[in-house]
């Protein structure tokens, strides 16, 4: 009896996830999806999203890995505060994040004088898109990487040291390979979150075709503009991307 209840509960949630996605994917004939994707607006959004999310991921991996390592290894006062700070962007609503970025990095923001002197304009640029994506998605990677590093047997790192590998080489030959599944999983989550980012993007980077109109913005705007086929086609693409990446990563993990 209990087993049946558990199974039903599980099935309900699974169905709730699959049915809307399937409904969306099956809404248009493949032919219509393809032709909608060939519009310049669709292609621009696709390219922009791919470009920005890859750059955002690269930045997150570069800066987030050391941070995750420090949080996992170094014991310092206020470490739990830093942990909490890292988690903040997950909890803060994206629009709030966008507003915060705007008020600090915007034209009349806190850093405006410095940026002006350097001749840099951040709001309404593709750079702003990347900044918004990094802000909202990096915690997903840092959390996963930190957990991955914590799970590594420190004795192995000590062994590596006694055998002659310095800290950097130990990190490369022992720590990273052993943490790889966690790092990979975190990177995927991070990328997916960046891909879906909307609120912070439109607030800080604005909405301009080719500059800041990423896939989610394009979906939303095409929905309004009455171009449902394009909105649906782009949504299908996003679902396909996400599904593909998730599957590839799971396959990798199984290795």
């Amino acid at each position: 009896m209990i087993r049946a209840v558990v199974a039903v509960a599980a099935a309900l949630l699974l169905a709730f996830i699959i049915i809307p996605l399937a409904g969306l994917v099956l809404h248009l004939a493949p032919r219509d999806i393809v032709s909608a994707l060939q519009t310049p607006a669709a292609q621009s959004a696709l390219c922009l999203s791919l470009l920005t999310t890859v750059i955002a991921l690269a930045i997150t991996l570069t800066l987030g890995t050391p941070l995750a390592y420090i949080l996992a290894r170094a014991a310092f006062r206020g470490r739990s505060i830093v942990d909490a700070i890292v988690d903040l962007p997950i909890v803060v609503p994206p629009a709030v994040a966008g507003l915060a970025l705007l008020l600090v990095f915007g034209r009349t923001g806190t850093f405006a004088p410095v940026l002006a002197r350097l001749g840099i304009q951040l709001s309404f640029t593709t750079a702003a898109v990347v900044m918004a994506q990094v802000f909202v998605s990096s915690p997903f990677y840092v959390r996963a990487a930190r957990a991955g590093f914590l799970n590594i047997d420190r004795t192995l790192e000590s062994a590596s040291a006694t055998l002659g590998m310095g800290p950097l080489r130990t990190f490369y030959f022992v720590t990273v390979p052993l943490a790889a599944p966690a790092l990979l999983g975190g990177a995927v989550l991070c990328w997916a979150r960046a891909l879906g980012e909307f609120g912070a993007t439109i607030m800080f980077a604005g909405n301009l075709l080719g500059v800041s109109q990423t896939l989610p913005l394009a979906v939303y705007l095409n929905l309004e503009g009455g171009s449902m086929p394009v909105a649906i086609a782009l949504s299908v693409i996003m679902i396909a991307f996400s599904a593909a990446v998730v599957i590839v990563v799971r396959l990798f993990e199984r290795r």
Binding site: S158, A159, A161, T162, L163, G164, L178
Partner: protein, 217 residues
């Protein structure tokens, strides 16, 4: 010759060790928690002492002015649970220290095979570490520590991870392998039976203090 004369304030006791370890095997016996692993970690450079010095073959590894990091000490350490890298094959495990020293691939391969053969596990080069028995793991760990031709060898409770049946056999094999090595070798253990297998030099350690024990002929 390995000169040790160090002190370290720990949470439960004050650790103090002062002795000279000549070539050959020196056994350090003591109960659990006496500071045996601490001694090895200090010598290996994984722990920094508060005071004193460690000198190996005339080279200062640690004193009030210098501290040579573990990856530059050239000291082999066989860990209690062997610490074999689970993501590397046996061969790659053993080759690890040679890689650290930038030994070219071909020479690496030859030396690894030789080290494994010497310990009679030559056929295991491509095996997965997880598939090995306790005794095999111990030999691989030993091969890994020895292949780099260290200036000193430390063994942390090398037999305690083995089941009682295997222990006796491996003990005598280990004694025979170590008798062939002519570098200062420290073997720490809580098992009195190990004393008998390595009679040359025995030290006692208790509550963090290293005490010279009786020397047998």
């Amino acid at each position: 010759m390995l000169h040790i004369d160090v002190g370290l304030q720990m949470r439960d006791f004050t650790f103090a060790a002062s002795t000279e370890v000549p070539s050959g095997v020196t056994v350090v016996v003591g109960p659990s928690g006496a500071g045996k692993s601490t001694l090895l970690r200090i010598i290996a450079g994984l722990l920094r002492p508060d005071s004193g010095s460690i000198v190996l073959d005339g080279r200062v590894l640690s004193d009030h002015r210098t501290f040579v990091p573990p990856y530059q000490r050239d000291i082999g350490l066989v860990f209690q649970e062997y610490a074999l890298f689970p993501h590397l094959s046996v061969g790659r495990n053993v080759a690890y220290g040679l890689r650290a020293r930038n030994v070219p691939a071909r020479e690496r391969g030859a030396r690894v095979q030789a080290a494994l053969d010497r310990l009679e596990v030559g056929s295991l080069a491509n095996e997965h570490v997880g598939e090995l028995s306790g005794g095999q793991r111990q030999r691989v760990a030993l091969a890994r520590a020895l292949v780099i031709e260290p200036k000193a060898l430390l063994l942390d409770e090398p037999l305690s991870a083995l089941d009682p049946q295997t222990r006796g056999r491996v003990r005598s094999e280990l004694a025979s392998i170590l008798s062939d090595i002519h570098i200062p070798t420290l073997l720490v253990t809580h098992d009195e039976a190990d004393r008998a297998a390595f009679p040359q030099r025995v030290l006692l350690i208790e509550h963090g203090r290293l005490i010279s024990g009786a020397q047998h002929g």
